[in-house]
């Protein structure tokens, strides 16, 4: 039996992950990992909801940063989308979205300090890059005919508004509301580097061993995301956007001298700053590449490949939880809850928790990445499987899975997995901040040592790596003919 191209690519990815597995470090180093897990579980069962001020502030700030950041990102992204036919705009957008919001937060923390603008920009900038790309694709998908039939002298803006935007509006709105959910997760996560959002309070509660507070924070966060569609109404949105900027808190004042020094002095490579010129720059670059960039890239790739394979396995194993071909009403609802919790938990938060429980190694990172991304893909594949009509005499149980459903959803599944490849890599790099030796670890160390020039260069390398993986994934999708219609090119 000849292997299909899809089977060959799948087996290669698994084989590669197994090789990576043998090269990585996967030890549980804490004394009582299961005891800690038990305490966390007890915290979730008996959350301490009594500290209203504390919880209220964490939730309010998380919401405020999400709304302002996503709002600004959407506005900027929309303007960029209108100019997306220019190569430089596309390149610019690819670049700003290749840098994770936590890296942006680290950059702005060094310049603006703990001012709300740091958190807002950290979310708004990468989101603008993503919004620009997707908005442009959605606008491209609209029917060009109405624009052609408009009066010749209709202004460009009116023409756009009445032809393209009005057609695309439902898709633009639904995508934006989906990104708002992502924005809530990003907002929670930038708390881990000092913004006053959920992550900040969670890290504090963990450090003090207040598991009941941790439980309360997590449950509130799930409730917030789970009920999103009930309280985010199109009519209420303007109100939220107006109020949110006033709920960001004050933070610390911006020291403008710091800002200008950061951008004109601190991030210039040290040899250039000290007037050593190119002769000084090359050894500096060589040393940085050899001792930090290359090990960082190596570990990032290792971890990404393992996490990618595990994500895929988990997604294919879990999608039946919400597929009507395998579940009843009650078990389907339980499946939904499981997948919602999995995908609502940001990888960074999950990795942080698992790291507290198991100690530093690649294990918490891989598990966190696979759980979060596996939950997302399982949800999408499960929904896809629900559109399949089976013949009347279709088999049941494992035969139904292996012969009827899995082959039919496998193509879309691979497409989704490749799409998440770049996202998994971006997250892998960022998990380094938690102490796993990926690129983020070296970025964070450079910042701790106040060597911002090195940090900036490492962030640049991370961005290029992400762009490279994105191109590779797109090639593979085309090779396997998994191309979605949404990626249609300009004619």
């Amino acid at each position: 039996m000849p292997l299909t191209p899809t089977a060959r690519v799948s087996l290669s990815l698994i084989a590669l992950a197994l090789v990576c597995l043998s090269l990585g470090d996967f030890e549980i180093s804490t004394h009582a990992p299961w005891q800690a897990l038990g305490r966390l579980f007890m915290g979730l069962v008996q959350p301490d909801l009594s500290r209203v001020d504390f919880l209220g502030e964490a939730i309010l700030r998380t919401l405020a940063f999400a709304f302002v950041g996503v709002g600004l990102g959407a506005a900027a992204g929309f303007l960029l989308a209108l100019a997306f036919q220019h190569l430089w705009v596309r390149t610019f957008c690819a670049f700003i979205r290749a840098i994770h919001e936590l890296f942006w937060a680290l950059i702005f923390l060094q310049s603006f300090g703990l001012h709300p603008i740091t958190g807002v920009l950290a979310i708004a900038i990468p989101y603008a890059g993503i919004f620009a790309k997707v908005y442009a694709e959605i606008l491209d998908e609209t029917d060009p005919e109405p624009a052609r039939t408009l009066p010749h002298r209709a202004g460009r803006f009116s023409a756009l508004l009445y032809s393209r935007i009005s057609q695309a509006w439902p898709h633009l709105a639904s995508y934006t509301s989906y990104r708002l959910e992502c924005g809530l997760r990003s907002s929670a996560v930038i708390g881990f580097v000092g913004m006053p959002t959920l992550g900040f309070h969670l890290a504090g509660a963990f450090a003090q061993g207040h598991y009941n507070t941790v439980g309360a924070l997590l449950i509130l966060f799930y409730l917030l995301i789970g009920t999103l569609r009930y309280w985010v109404r199109p009519r209420l949105l303007p109100l939220y956007l107006i109020v949110a900027p006033f709920c960001l808190g004050t933070g610390l004042p911006i020291m403008w001298s710091n800002v200008s020094r950061f951008f004109t002095h601190d991030i210039i490579p040290a040899p250039l700053r000290q007037g050593e010129g190119i002769e000084g720059l090359l050894p500096w670059l060589g040393e940085l590449m050899l001792n930090q960039a290359l090990p960082g890239i190596w570990n990032t790739l290792l971890l990404t490949q393992i996490a990618l394979a595990l994500t895929g396995i988990l997604a294919m194993a879990l999608f039946p939880l919400i597929s009507r071909h395998f579940t009843g009403k009650l078990s389907g609802t339980c499946g939904h809850v499981i997948l919602v919790v999995m995908r609502a938990t940001p990888e960074y938060l999950l990795a942080f928790i698992l790291l507290q429980l198991w100690g530093p190694s690649m294990l918490p990172a891989v598990v966190a990445l696979a759980l979060h991304n596996g939950g997302i893909i399982a949800h999408l594949v499960g929904r896809r499987s629900n559109t399949i009509q089976l013949r009347q005499d279709a088999p049941k149980g494992i035969n139904r899975y292996a012969y009827e459903i899995a082959p039919r959803v496998y193509g879309p599944f691979m497409g989704l997995l490749f799409y998440r490849w770049e996202i998994i890599m971006r997250e892998t790099a960022i998990l380094g901040i938690l102490g796993i030796a990926t690129l983020g670890f070296y970025v964070d160390s450079a910042i701790q040592e106040i060597r911002f020039d090195r940090a900036m260069l490492l962030i640049l390398i991370t961005a290029l790596l992400n762009i490279g993986v994105d191109i590779l994934a797109r090639r593979l999708r085309a090779h396997l003919r998994l191309r979605h219609s949404i990626n249609r090119k300009h004619c």
Binding site: M1, P2, T4, T6, L390, R391, Q392, D393, A394, P395, G397, I398, N399, A402, Y403, E404, P407, R408, Y410, G411
Partner: protein, 221 residues
């Protein structure tokens, strides 16, 4: 009960689509060795009747060949045919076959594909086949299944004259009893022993095919 009912029988069978009754109530039974052709214009209720039959008789080893074939586009022709016997093997053997088909199964399925004129397509994904080829794969699947009765909805609609006849011959040689929904009246009269005409969800004609001509069936349309 005084008289033994035949095994394959429907009594006051109905089919509803939402609030609307699309079929029945109707009574129908098949004698051993009977090959029944279901005729009638599209929308008359032939497919609904086949669905009801499968509902009643699936525990008695009925084999189904639906109109849209129900093939899995991403699986090879071999695996689609093999699916006819999924219920006869333990799950682990079926999983194994997915990754590594056994020699005996390949030989058996290859013989069927040769008989139907598509032996070279054994490892081609079904999604890459033409309509006529796909229909022959679906036929191979029920031939492989070897149930006690065949329920087929337009089994040769995508095949031309000689091919259609050879596929029907193969189906009727394997199954001693069958119900075939057909739109080609000449084929129906020639190959089946009995013709049932459906009109507005009820039986309008029911007679041995040797007593009928195509002209007798025209009022149905």
């Amino acid at each position: 009960m005084t008289t033994a009912l035949p095994i394959f029988a429907l009594k006051n069978a109905v089919a509803d689509y939402g609030e609307v009754r699309v079929l029945g109530p109707l009574n129908l039974s098949l004698a051993p060795g009977e090959h029944l052709a279901l005729v009638g214009k599209s929308g008359a209720g032939k497919s609904s009747l086949l669905a009801v039959m499968y509902d009643h008789w699936h525990t008695q080893d009925a084999a189904l060949m639906p109109q849209d074939l129900g093939l899995v586009a991403n699986l090879s022709v071999f695996h689609n045919v093999y699916m006819g016997r999924l219920d006869r093997h333990p799950w682990w053997r079926n999983l194994l076959t997915l990754a590594h088909p056994l020699k005996g199964d390949i030989a058996e399925i290859d013989a069927l594909l040769t008989q139907l004129g598509i032996p070279e397509k054994c490892w081609t994904p079904c999604g890459e086949l033409s309509g006529g080829q796909r229909q022959r794969v679906a036929a191979a699947r029920v031939l492989y299944q070897q149930g006690r009765i065949l329920l087929a909805d337009e089994p040769v609609s995508a095949l031309d004259g000689p091919q259609a006849e050879s596929v029907i011959r193969a189906l009727l040689a394997t199954y001693s009893m069958s119900v075939l929904a057909m739109h080609d009246l000449d084929l129906a009269l020639h190959f089946c022993t009995r013709v049932v005409g459906i009109q507005d969800g009820v039986i309008a004609v029911d007679a041995p095919s040797r007593t009928l001509t195509t002209a007798d069936l025209m009022p149905l349309y």
